[in-house]
């Protein structure tokens, strides 16, 4: 029988004021196997820890119970003390007789003492069955992957690469830059977005440690923290990017002009080419839906114009396997689709546009060359109505949340509009103006005071055309008056939404989402860039609406987490994980279905019987992936699966001890 030591702490009077600690120590000494039992005023103090160390060394203890506070308080302290004295730290159990006993039963010393005896007794039975455990050491692949090449992903990739680790940056579109590349100016300083973004894009493109995989998507992820295997699908661009020099002769020659999603429907693009001139990589792709050649027509204009013969109409998609130690997800956001906002005539009337279209209009490289013009007739609008919360803070539309950035960009739009059209009038319908951020409130005040924007608190009820104007009917809830504005242009601050395929991505990377589809962090306040899957980090608008400053800060936060992980040669993992007895396992795979982390895999055992090979299916626990929840142990029909530190026999021994001691006390 293993030799157990019990150490009962007084915690001053916190425990000893209610529980008869001497009696608890005496009773515990009677439990078979307990060869040492004592009490002391403060076990966590240096003299207290020395008592424990001396007893471990003198009596060769093979397990100790410290009856004191909650394990969340001092379990690490006592595990370290035990380890220093030569006892395995996983052969230490805390018996919580403070938070769960003396503090909640202050008026009944007898009952509190009986309960303490029960708690300590159960801990003795548990620790008796604790095996010495060692954390697993697994090597780390010193390389990271960042998924999503907007401002967040670029910042994360640059920070990780600058820390000295290779990074693969995967981007779905043919160029990095993301949403920020569509913007004109940025609040609260009115820097031009391209002026601060494109140098960063170029830096990403030329960084020796960043490998850019543009026009690619992640298909599948396996493995675990430190050693992920990622399958990436490189979509066909029909252009040999290695041969191409980026002269864009092809784009000039292409006869197919189509509506551009990048320009939010306000402009066109060619069936071959780049979305914007500063694209990185600066390489064209063919849009197969609109390319005359790929649709079967007789057209070789791009191919003929190419000086290096880089056009390849036969190109096919490629699957690439990469190994990385850590992953950052920064795939950003979408905007509420047109059909959800029918009442504003969005998608029906050309002069009702969304904010991103306004950004393109204001962009000097955009479809109107930076001039604000009505899409219907190209006139300069003299009355512009901005409608905030178009879909946001509206549970009926599915977005109960605040999109956070709209108050600021609408103020920015009104300011930019006033700068472009000084004799025009901007009206802003708002719910509340939320301008929390450095310099934000001051910016909004300037929009009102210097740029003459008229803020109307209230919602818009109807928007419909009247002559060549758009009639906007709403109510100003501060003056309680109905408002009608004959507008030339209506701009909707449409809600920020998760990417339409965010849930699919969450499944691929095994990350949780909130009810809307934004990815969940491990802890909203204290672990904001980690996820519940170790080694997978999140940053930026993939977590929820964010402005550029917040997104960049989170990107650097995630990058530093990645650098911390990759800076180690090997990684220790918690040994309290599931283990399977292959002899008892029947290979039914019920545990596989119960595991929330895909940590259990099937495998086959083969052995020779006579001259035949017999193979049998069992399961195997991936020690790097298992989080130790124990769901599989209950699912296991053979009793073959167990959780270290919480084995069936340990929990049952606790149950029996509790019932036995309680019964003897009746």
């Amino acid at each position: 029988m293993r030799k157990i030591g019990v150490f009962v702490c007084h915690c001053g009077l916190n425990i000893a004021g209610t529980v008869d600690v001497k009696r608890v120590a005496e009773r515990c000494a009677e439990i078979p196997g307990v060869v040492h039992s004592e009490d002391y005023s403060y076990m966590c103090s240096d003299p207290g820890q020395n008592l424990i160390a001396e007893a471990i060394e003198e009596k060769d203890l093979e397990g100790i119970v410290v009856a004191a506070c909650s394990p969340t308080m001092h379990e690490p302290t006592f595990r370290a003390a035990a380890e220093a004295a030569g006892l395995n730290p996983y052969q230490v159990q805390m018996a919580n007789i403070r938070e769960q006993c003396s503090w909640v039963h202050p008026d009944d010393e007898e009952e509190a003492t009986r309960k303490a005896e029960g708690i300590v007794g159960a801990a003795v039975e548990k620790v008796r069955r604790d095996e010495p455990l060692v954390p697993h050491e697994i090597p780390i692949t010193k390389k990271a992957m960042v998924v999503g090449g907007g401002i967040t992903g670029m910042q994360a990739a640059l920070d990780i690469a600058d820390a000295g680790y290779p990074v693969i940056l995967v981007e779905r579109e043919a160029t990095i830059g993301g949403r920020m590349a569509q913007l004109s100016e940025t609040f609260p300083t009115l820097d031009c977005a391209s002026c601060i973004l494109t140098p960063k894009m170029a830096e990403v493109g030329r960084h020796p440690l960043i490998e850019l995989m543009a026009y690619s998507e992640v298909e599948e992820v396996s493995g675990s923290v430190g050693n992920f295997r990622v399958r990436v699908r490189q979509k066909p661009t029909y252009v040999d990017w290695d041969a191409c020099m980026g002269c864009m002769q092809c784009q000039q020659q292409c006869p197919s002009e189509v509506e551009s999603e990048f320009e939010r429907g306000l402009g066109t693009k060619k069936a071959i080419g780049v979305d914007f001139p500063q694209a990185i990589p600066n390489r064209p792709k063919i849009d197969p839906e609109h390319c005359a050649h790929l649709r079967g027509d007789f057209c070789w204009l791009c191919s003929r114009s190419c000086p290096v013969d880089a056009i390849d109409y036969e190109q096919e998609e490629r699957i690439v396997e990469e190994e990385v130690g850590a992953i950052v997800l920064s795939t950003g956001y979408d905007m509420l689709p047109q059909e959800v906002l029918g009442e504003y005539g969005y998608g029906k009337y050309p002069d009702v546009i969304d904010s991103m279209a306004f950004e393109r209009m204001k962009s000097s490289s955009g479809p109107t060359g930076g001039e604000i013009r009505r899409p219907s007739d190209g006139e300069i609008p003299k009355e512009v109505v901005f409608i905030q919360c178009a879909g946001s803070r509206d549970p009926d539309k599915g977005q109960s949340y605040c999109s956070k950035i709209c108050c600021m960009y609408t103020a920015k739009h009104a300011t930019l509009y006033h700068h472009s059209v000084p004799d025009g009038q901007a009206y802003i319908f708002y719910t509340d103006v939320r301008a929390g951020g450095k310099g934000y409130e001051e910016f909004v005040q300037r929009t009102v005071e210097e740029d003459n924007a008229l803020y109307l608190r209230g919602r818009v009820s109807r928007v419909y055309p009247e002559g060549d104007k758009i009639l906007v009917k709403g109510v100003d809830t501060l003056s309680d008056e109905n408002v009608e504005i004959h507008a030339d242009l209506v701009v909707l601050a449409t809600a920020v939404t998760p990417r339409t395929d965010a849930r699919e991505m969450a499944r691929i990377f095994n990350v949780g989402t909130d009810e809307h589809g934004f990815l969940n962090e491990a802890h909203i306040k204290l672990r904001p860039v980690e996820t519940t899957t170790p080694g997978v980090y999140v940053a930026g608008a993939v977590r929820g609406p964010r402005d550029i400053s917040d997104a960049a800060a989170e990107a650097s936060g995630a990058a530093s987490k990645v650098a911390m992980l990759l800076s180690r040669e090997e990684m220790e993992t918690d040994p309290l994980i599931a283990e399977v007895d292959e002899g008892d396992c029947s290979g039914c795979l019920w545990c596989v279905a119960a595991c929330p982390f895909d940590a259990i895999e099937e495998k086959y055992l083969t052995r020779r019987v006579g001259d035949r090979e017999v193979s049998r299916r069992v399961v195997e626990v991936n020690v790097g992936v298992c989080q130790g929840c124990g769901a599989c142990t209950v699912a296991c029909r053979d009793g073959a699966m167990n959780l270290k530190g919480y084995k069936d026999e340990q929990i049952l021994a606790e149950v029996e001890s509790i019932c036995l001691i309680a019964g003897s006390q009746q």
Binding site: E99, A631, V634, Y646, D648, V655, I658, A662
Partner: protein
């Protein structure tokens, strides 16, 4: 049964939510009857319904299985498994003859010290009214 009789309630508490909630009841000094003995498990999904039956066999008068609120599981979906398992196991135990008030499955968060104390109070009262459990009992 008299008010002085102290039933034995075995509580399986997940370490992330309910165990921390029970600790909070302590740090907030919210008193509750000394009837309950907590067994810490990583997740409520670690609680095999057979542990519950064993507790009754050995003389427990009530069993509480408690974890994080649905949607809050540290392991993402562990408590959904608990909910499914016990939505089968509870009616079965009642069919075997255990009064429904003796087995409870509750979601108690790390912030709900008050709720932990209330549930222990309620269960203790209900079980006092039922009296000691005799079904399946086999004292060692």
């Amino acid at each position: 049964m008299s008010d002085s009789w102290q039933p034995t309630i075995v509580a399986f508490a997940c370490q992330w939510c309910t165990y921390a909630g029970a600790d909070l009841a302590g740090t907030s000094r919210i008193p509750y009857p000394p009837s309950v003995r907590v067994i810490k498990v990583p997740c409520s999904a670690r609680v095999d319904p057979s542990f519950v039956i064993r507790a009754f066999q050995r003389g427990a008068d009530g069993v509480l299985v408690s974890g994080c609120h649905p949607g809050d599981c540290h392991y993402m979906e562990g408590n959904y498994l608990t909910r499914r398992r016990f939505s089968l196991a509870k009616p079965f135990m009642s069919y075997l003859g255990l009064e429904p008030g003796r087995v409870r499955v509750e979601w108690i968060s790390a912030a709900e010290g008050q709720r932990f104390a209330e549930i222990v109070r309620e269960m203790t009262g209900d079980i006092r009214a039922l009296g000691p459990n005799r079904k399946m009992r086999e004292r060692l």
